[in-house]
């Protein structure tokens, strides 16, 4: 369904701000849940239940002195967090969050952009996002940053392969790369996490690694390795990297919900976006739960897991799904 370009523009603005808000409260939720899982309170000073904590953090980060290493390559050093942030935010544009509404006499779609290559677009943006890490690490002109960015880059590139292969089954069953089509197909037939359980599991693990969350948080292994590609970053520049990481987490959670749990579909159709939000919330909470429960992997374990377990499983899943789809139809 066509809609005027200015509606898309307004929607994009609203969604970007909503994502930023969601990011802010994801950090709050993470600290709160982690705290409670470790018998602590978590943030509870700024506002009731610490609800103003994200804003306090923002003010603190923005007001911090933005220093940089003398040897840093300036334009690239400053561009790196912006690249990360841009790709993280842009990827959300193609994720459908509702069925579409008739507001006054305009039709409003349930997604910002309905493109036929939505899935590839998300992966393409994700692969561009790697440059944020690699350029940031290189432009800092520091050995710690450089090695950290190598580590990050190797991990992200390795797991991107599994991530892309794991959704192949969904693409074959949905017979489209368009996320709107995939969601509608699931609404009409069956939620894809049942036939694509292996795909979901591979996607889930690869997603943890892609967003560099524990137990795959080798890019920023706070407790044992120096902070990684953003060692030399401080203030809001570091904050942008961190924001990009959390927004990637939200986006990939939303993508998982879209691909495997029928997006905005739920028992009562007009509540579409709420179902979508609820599912994403559950996904994010599970990520936090994993962070509270599992210790970090060693780097060689990480690589082995990615290449020797996830990749074969994803490949076999894709081949079997292809055969079954052909056989059934």
């Amino acid at each position: 369904m066509r809609e005027p370009w200015w509606i898309s523009l307004i929607k994009a603005g609203v969604i970007v701000n909503l994502i930023m808000l969601a990011f802010a409260y994801t950090t709050w939720l993470e600290r709160k849940l982690l705290g409670r899982m470790q018998n602590r309170f978590g943030p509870n000073r700024a506002g009731p239940y610490g609800l103003l904590q994200p804003f306090a953090d923002l003010i603190k980060l923005v007001r911090k002195e933005s220093f940089f290493p003398v040897a840093a390559r300036h334009p690239l050093y400053i561009a790196a967090p912006i690249i990360s942030m841009f790709t993280a935010l842009a990827a959300f544009a193609v994720i459908p969050f509702g069925a579409g509404w008739q507001i006054w006499h305009y039709h409003v779609n349930g997604e910002i952009a309905n493109v036929s290559i939505a899935l590839i677009l998300i992966f393409a943006l994700g692969s561009i996002g790697v440059y944020g890490a690699i350029i940031g690490g290189w432009a800092s002109q520091s050995k710690f940053s450089l090695l950290g960015s190598m580590r990050t880059c190797a991990q992200l590139v390795s797991y991107e392969v599994s991530l892309a292969l794991s959704v192949l089954g969904v693409v074959l069953m949905g017979q489209s790369l368009n996320l709107v089509d995939i969601v509608n197909k699931q609404g009409a037939t069956i939620w894809f996490f049942i036939p694509q359980l292996a795909g979901l599991l591979v996607f889930f693990f690869a997603m943890i690694a892609e967003t560099s969350r524990p137990p795959f948080d080798l890019p920023e292994a706070d407790t044992e390795l120096v902070a990684g590609y953003h060692t030399e970053y401080g203030g809001m520049r570091w904050g942008l990297f961190q924001t990009a990481e959390y927004i990637n987490l939200i986006t990939l959670s939303a993508l998982a919900v879209t691909l495997f749990f029928a997006g905005w579909h739920g028992p009562y159709a007009p509540l579409g976006p709420l179902w979508f939000l609820l599912k994403v919330f559950i996904f994010v909470s599970v990520f936090i739960w994993i962070r509270a429960s599992v210790p970090r992997l060693r780097y060689d374990q990480l690589m082995r897991f990615g290449w020797k377990i996830l990749l074969p499983v994803a490949t076999i899943n894709a081949v079997v799904t292809a055969l079954l789809v052909v056989w059934i139809s």
Binding site: L76, V115, S116, I117, I120, L121, F123, A124, G126, S127, I128, V130, Y131, I134, I135, G137, W138, L146, S149, M150, C153, A154, V157, E160, S176, L177, D300, Q301, R304, F305, K308
Partner: protein, 185 residues
């Protein structure tokens, strides 16, 4: 028809921007002395090519271009360059003469091709016989072409890539003498 003309102006603006970005980044690739900047310029080149593909309404090719070349291949380039370190290459100081001759010949051939294409276009000999339909450039359209009209080329390419991958694994595996060096998972 105002909207349509605004759209046309926009297409022209984007095309101009992408085309000049393409040329500029291509010049930048060969003129930077720091290989890291050269690689970054190459990424810019691939990105602007993707925009040109988008203007030709082949979304899939554009996305694949970004995903495969700008996203995966160039990461490897940057990876290696960053590992090798800050050594900068000196600008080209003359190589074997056959390379020079080959480069000049290739450049001349491309120039002739461009001139011929522009001439044919101006003469009206290159007009499209049929209009591009809506499905053009969509993943299913390209997939169908790959598995029908261009099946042989597609399969040969995939076999060549497979051989290259196996070769890479064999070359890489040679350096490790014993298999049990790495602790098990």
């Amino acid at each position: 028809m105002i909207v349509a003309s605004v759209g046309n102006v926009l297409v022209w603006a984007v095309w101009l921007g992408a085309a000049f970005a393409c040329l500029g980044s291509a010049v930048a690739v060969v003129s930077f002395t720091n290989p890291f900047y050269s690689a970054l310029a190459l990424i810019g080149n691939l990105g602007s090519l993707a925009v040109l593909y988008l203007l030709l309404s082949s979304e899939f090719v554009a996305a694949a271009q970004v995903l495969v070349y700008a996203g995966a291949v160039m990461v490897m380039f940057l990876f290696v360059i960053a590992y090798i370190g800050p050594r900068t290459e000196s600008p080209w100081t003359g190589g074997p003469t056959w390379q020079t001759i080959g480069a000049v010949l290739a450049a001349g051939a491309i120039l002739v091709e461009i001139v011929v294409a522009i001439g044919l276009k101006a003469g009206g000999s290159l007009s499209h016989s049929h209009h591009v339909d809506g499905a053009f450039g969509t993943p299913s359209y390209i997939g169908r072409l790959f598995l029908t009209d261009h099946l042989l080329a597609f399969e040969i390419t995939s076999i060549v890539l497979l051989v290259a991958a196996i070769g890479g694994v064999i070359l890489g595996a040679h350096s490790r003498t014993t298999a049990d060096e790495v602790p098990s998972l």
